[in-house]
Symmetry: C2
Subunit: 591 residues, 2 copies
Amino acid sequence: MSLYKIPLRDFQFVLHELLDTSAVMHSCGREEFDAATIDQVLSAAGQFAEEVIAPLNASGDEEGCQFRDGGVTTPSGFREAYRQYIESGWSSLACSAEHGGAEFPTAVENAVNEIFGGANMAFSAYPGMSQATYVNLRANGSPGLKALYLPKLASGQWTGTMCLTEPQAGTDLGLLRTRATPQVDGSYRLAGSKIFISGGEHDLAENIVHLVLARLPDAPPGVKGISLFLVPKVIPNADGSLGERNEIACGSIEHKMGIHGNSTCTMNLDGARGWLVGEPHKGLAGMFVQMNHLRLGVGITAIGVMEAAWQKSRRYANERVQGRSPGSVASADNIVLHADVRRMLLTQKAYVEGLRALALWSSQLIDLSHSHPDADARRDAAGLIALLTPVVKAISSDLALESTLMAMQVFGGHGFIRESGVEQHVRDVRIISLYEGTNGVQAMDLLGRKVLADGGLRMGAFIEQVVAHAQTHRTRPGMEEFAAPVLELARKVQTVTGELIASSMDDPHAAGAAAVPYLRLVGHLALSYTWLRAAQLALAKAGSGDPFYASKIATARFYLRRLMPQSIALFEEIRAGAAPVMDVAALLDAT
Amino acid sequence: MSLYKIPLRDFQFVLHELLDTSAVMHSCGREEFDAATIDQVLSAAGQFAEEVIAPLNASGDEEGCQFRDGGVTTPSGFREAYRQYIESGWSSLACSAEHGGAEFPTAVENAVNEIFGGANMAFSAYPGMSQATYVNLRANGSPGLKALYLPKLASGQWTGTMCLTEPQAGTDLGLLRTRATPQVDGSYRLAGSKIFISGGEHDLAENIVHLVLARLPDAPPGVKGISLFLVPKVIPNADGSLGERNEIACGSIEHKMGIHGNSTCTMNLDGARGWLVGEPHKGLAGMFVQMNHLRLGVGITAIGVMEAAWQKSRRYANERVQGRSPGSVASADNIVLHADVRRMLLTQKAYVEGLRALALWSSQLIDLSHSHPDADARRDAAGLIALLTPVVKAISSDLALESTLMAMQVFGGHGFIRESGVEQHVRDVRIISLYEGTNGVQAMDLLGRKVLADGGLRMGAFIEQVVAHAQTHRTRPGMEEFAAPVLELARKVQTVTGELIASSMDDPHAAGAAAVPYLRLVGHLALSYTWLRAAQLALAKAGSGDPFYASKIATARFYLRRLMPQSIALFEEIRAGAAPVMDVAALLDAT
C-alpha cells in the first residue's frame, strides 16, 4: 500500500500548462528551467517523499519528539532522512547561487514543498523553517552575517528558527518583553523566554540559527520598539567552524494534538549573544519577510496534507465494498459508486487541485515580483502576492481541515482508528489555521492592511483581472457555464468590498466582524478564477482523449455548481454587519 | 479553574420555560415532576459531573484503556467513579419502576446525559450504552430475559453493549456473517467476530450483556436474515447470581483519535451461548430501538462536549489580554472585546443553546409518544421524533465538530497544546459523526426513509407547524425580525422537498447526492424554529431585567442574521443536482 504518491500529472498540468513556468522564467531571463528539468526535480522529490519520509510519518507521530537534559531527540529515522535530504540538495533548491543554491523558481520550490509536506508534515517543517530563516537573513542581514550563516543554512548543515511568541505575547507582539543589551564589541546579550519555537532544539543538525525578536534598552513601547537579532545555538568562529555554546537553551517541549515529530520548544535566553539584523526598532518589518514566506509555505503544506488524506480516502472508496448502488445488480458495490461518497471525494479533489493551482500561481507571482524585466510588472505582481498571501494561508488551512475531516468521513468508523492513517492528517493539519498568525489574523491582514488601507485599489485590480478574463472567455464554445458564475461572484465581491470600505468608516468593528467571512469569500473568488482557467485549458485539450482533461472539466463543474454557492452565504453573513456580533447583551451571561 | 460547570440556568430555561416539562408530564398523567424536583436532579447531576467525572477527563484521555490477557483496564479513577455513579442511582433514572427505576421523563434523562457527556464523554459512554441496551431489551425481550437482565442493567450492576459491526459489514449490515446455531435447550451457540464494540470489555462491572446480530442457519441473505441475540459475558443463574464464563471474549482494543478512556473492542464469539431476542430474522428492526435511542443519545453527548469546549473558550477569551480593541485606551484588551473573537464565541453559543433546546424538545416528543393520553397526539409525536432523530444526531455532531474547532481557534496556538484541554474535545467529539450510522447514513435515513418514503407527508407537517407558529407570532411586537427569516427558510425547505420528491423519481442518485446538504438544511430549519421560540419567550420576559433574557434575544438575532444564511448555500447546492456528482469523468483519474 502506497502511503503517499506524488500527484505528478497534476503538478505538470499546473506548472507547464496553466502557469507555463518555463516561458515565464524565460521572460525573466532564466532560460534553464525547461519542462524536462522541472519534471526531473518533481520526480526526484516524489521518490524521496515516497520512499524516505512518507514511511516515517506514522511512526514519527506515534513516537514523537523526546526531551531530556535540554536536548531533543527526533523520532527514529528522522536524522538519517535529514542527512539524505541535505545530501540530495533539497535544502538549497531555491537558494542563491552565491550560497551554493540552485536558484529554482519559487513555483517549483513550492511544488516540492507541497510534496514533502504531504509525505511527512512534521519532518518537512524543520527544513521549511530553515528556508524561511534563510530568506529573512538574506533580505535583512549585514554582509558579514550573510557570509557566515547563509551558506550553512542553504546546505542544511545548520537549521533555522523564528523566535517571536512569548507567554503574554502571541498575536500581539507589541507586548513582548525579551531584552537585548548592547555589548562593547557590537554584539548584544539577550534575556527572556520564548515559546512555541518550531525546531528550537533537535538532533538533526550541528547548529541552529535563531532569529529572535527583542527590545533594545531605548526601545519605544509596542511594535515600534522591536528589533531582530540572530542568536546561534553554537557561536561559529569566523571560518564557520563551531565555537562555544551560546546561552540559549530549550526548557521543555510541548505535547500537542499533532505534528508530534516536530519539536515545539520553550527557548530560554539567559544572556545569549546575538547580532542585530537590520535596523534597530525595525525588527518586525524584517521578520515579516520570514513570516510572509512562511504563510505561503504553510498554506502549501496544508495542500500537501489534504492531498495525502484525499489519496487515502479515494483508495479506500475504491476498495471498500458496502451497500448497493442504485441500479446495481451486485449484492454490494465499491462505495465510490455511492453519490454521497462521490460528493465527499469530489469536494476534496476540487479543493486540493484548485488550491494547488492557486498556490503555485501565487508562487509564480513571487518569481515575477523579483525577476520580471519590467518594473510595473514587478510592482503589480508584488501587489497581488501581498493580497493573496493571507488568502492562500487561511483558505488552504481551513479547507485542508474540512477536507481531511471529509477523508475521515469516507472511512466511516475506520477513519477514527489511528491505524487508518487518516486521522493523523487532521491532527497535523489543524495547527496551520493557528500558527504563523491565526486565520483571524490573516483575515484582518487582508481586509485591514491590504484592502481598506488602499481604499480597495489592489483588490479592485484583482477583481478586474478576474472579470476581464471571464468576459474574454465566456463567449468561447462551452465556456459560458464556467465563466458566468465567476463573473457573478466577482461582482458580489466588488459590491461587498465597496460596502465594507464605507461601513468601516462609521463603525470601528465593521472590519473585525466581517474579516473572516470576507477572506473566505475572496478565497472562493480566487479558487473559482483558478478553476475557470483550468476548465478553459482542459476544454481546449479535451479532444486528445486523455481522461485527465475530462476529469478536470468535471471537477471544475462540480466546484462551480456545488461548492461555490457557499459564497452566497458568506456574502449575506458579511452584510448582516457588526451589530449582532458586538451586541453587549449577547455575551453578558458568558463571563 | 473549573473544568466543566453545568449550564443550569439554560437547562432551566429549556425544561421549565420553553418545554414546560412539568405541565406536559402532568398532561401525561405524571404529576410528580415539578420544577423543584427536576432542578434537584439537575443540580445533583451537576455536582457529580463537576466533582467526580470532569476531573478524570484529561487523565483518562492521557492514560487510555489498557488491554492485557483478554481484560481491559479503564483509566485510573473510572472504577470508583462508576461505583459512585450507580450508587447515586443515575443508571436507573429513566428506567421502569418494576426494574427499580425512577421513571424520569426522557427530557430530564437527556439533560442529565448531556451533563455527563460534557464532563467526561469517554466515561459516560459506558452507562450510555447500557441505557440503550436496557431500552432494547425492554422493548424486545421475552418476559424471562427481561426479568433476569433488566433489573441488573437498571441498577448498573451489569453493563450492556450493541454488537453489530464486522470487518466486512459496517453501514451495510446485510453483509454480516456471525452465525447462530439453535441448541436443544432453546438457546443458541454463536460464532463470529465483531469489531468496534464500545464497552465490549472493561473492569467497571461484574457482567456485560451483549446484544448481538447474527444469522440463523435458515436465514435469507441480506438484512432480512438477521436475528438479535442476548449474549452475556458471564451466564447468570436463574437467581441472577453469576454462573459460568461464556465463550465471548475481547481480542484487542482499538487505538483511536479520541475517547481513549472508552474501550472499543474486537469481540470474538467462539460458540458463545445466546438467547434469541424477538422474532427470528427480525433482529434489525429490534436493534433499531437501541440504535434510535443511541442516535439521539450521542447527539446529546455532542452537545455536552460543545458546551465544555465553549466554556473553556469563553473563559480564555475573558482572561487572555492581547491586542487593543477599536476605541480602547488600554495597551491591550481581553480578547472577548475583539469582533472576530466574539463572532467565534457567539457562533458556539448560538449552536450549543439552540441544539440543546432542539434535542430536549425531541426528547419530550418521546415522552409524548409514549405517555400522552390521546392516541393521535402520541402518533404525531412518534412521527415527528422519527423525523428529527437523524437530524439531531447528525447536525449536533457536525456542529459540535465545527464548534469545538472554533473553541480551539479562540485559544490561538495554545489551543493546539494538550494542556489547554480544548483539543481533546475535538478528538473526542469527532467519533459522533461516524458512529451509530455515519452522518451520511443519517441523511439518507431522513431523506429516503422519512421524507421520500411517505411522499413528504411528515416533513410537510413539520414545515406546517413551523410556518403556523411563525405566522402567529410575527405580528406581535418585536417578533417580525425573528419570524420573517424562519418563514422564508420554511418555504425554501418546502420548495426543495417538493423538488427532491420529483427528481428522485427520475434519477436514482438524486437523493444520495442531496441527502447531506438536505439534512443540514432541515437542521437549520429546526434550529431556527427553536431560536424563534426562545426569542419569543425571552422577549416576553425581557422586562424582568434579567440579563439572561437579553442575552437570549441577542443570541437568537446573531443566529438568524449571521449563521442561518448558510441555508441559502445548502439550498443552491441541493438544486445543483446529482449530475455534477455522478459525472463518470470526474473521478476517472482517481482510482
